[in-house]
Symmetry: C2
Subunit: 95 residues, 2 copies
C-alpha cells in the first residue's frame, strides 16, 4: 500500500502546485474555461495522463467549469500519486 504523506510533506508540495487546496483527505482544484469544448478537451488530456499513471481523479463538470478532487482511496488519504497527478494536471492547464 502507498505511504500516506505527512502534513509537512503536503504543505511543502502545495507550494509548487498552483491553485490546489488541501481539504480533508483530498487535494482540490476548480478550473474554468471559455466554453464546454475547451473544458472537455482539458478533461480528455487529463484522462490520458491519469490512465497512464493508473491514478484517477474524482471530478465533476458543468459546462465550462470543472471541480477536481484527488485522493488515494486505497491508502485512505494523500500519497505521492496525488502529487504526481496534480502536477500533471497543472502542466496540462498551462498548455
Amino acid at each position: 500500500m502507498a505511504v500516506l504523506l505527512t502534513e509537512q510533506e503536503i504543505s511543502e508540495a502545495l507550494g509548487d502546485l498552483a491553485g490546489w487546496k488541501h481539504e480533508g483527505d483530498a487535494l482540490v482544484k476548480e478550473c474554468e474555461f471559455a466554453n464546454f469544448v475547451q473544458a472537455f478537451a482539458f478533461m480528455t488530456r487529463v484522462a490520458m495522463r491519469a490512465e497512464k499513471i493508473d491514478h484517477h481523479p474524482d471530478w465533476s463538470n458543468s459546462y465550462n467549469r470543472i471541480h477536481i478532487s484527488l485522493t488515494s482511496h486505497d491508502a485512505g488519504g494523500l500519497t505521492s500519486k496525488d502529487l504526481a497527478l496534480a502536477a500533471a494536471i497543472n502542466r496540462e492547464l498551462s498548455k
Copy 2:
C-alpha cells in the same frame, strides 16, 4: 426561453427513459462501467452529442462510475432539451 415541462409530461417521458429519475429540477442517472477507460469513452461520446445539440450535462466521474444530472438552467427546470439529451445518452449507453 424554452417551455418548462409539466409533471405529467415528465412522468410520461420517463416511461421511455430507462434508468432516469426525476429529482428536484433535474433528471438524474447513475452509470457504471468496467473501468475508467470505458467510462471516459462514454463521456466523450456524450460530450459530442451534448455540444451538437447545445445542451450540456452536469456530471461527475469517479473511476468507473458516472453521475449525470440534466436540467435547463436558463429555464429553471426541465424542458424538451433535457429529454432529448437523456434519450441521446441512453442510445450511447446501448452501443
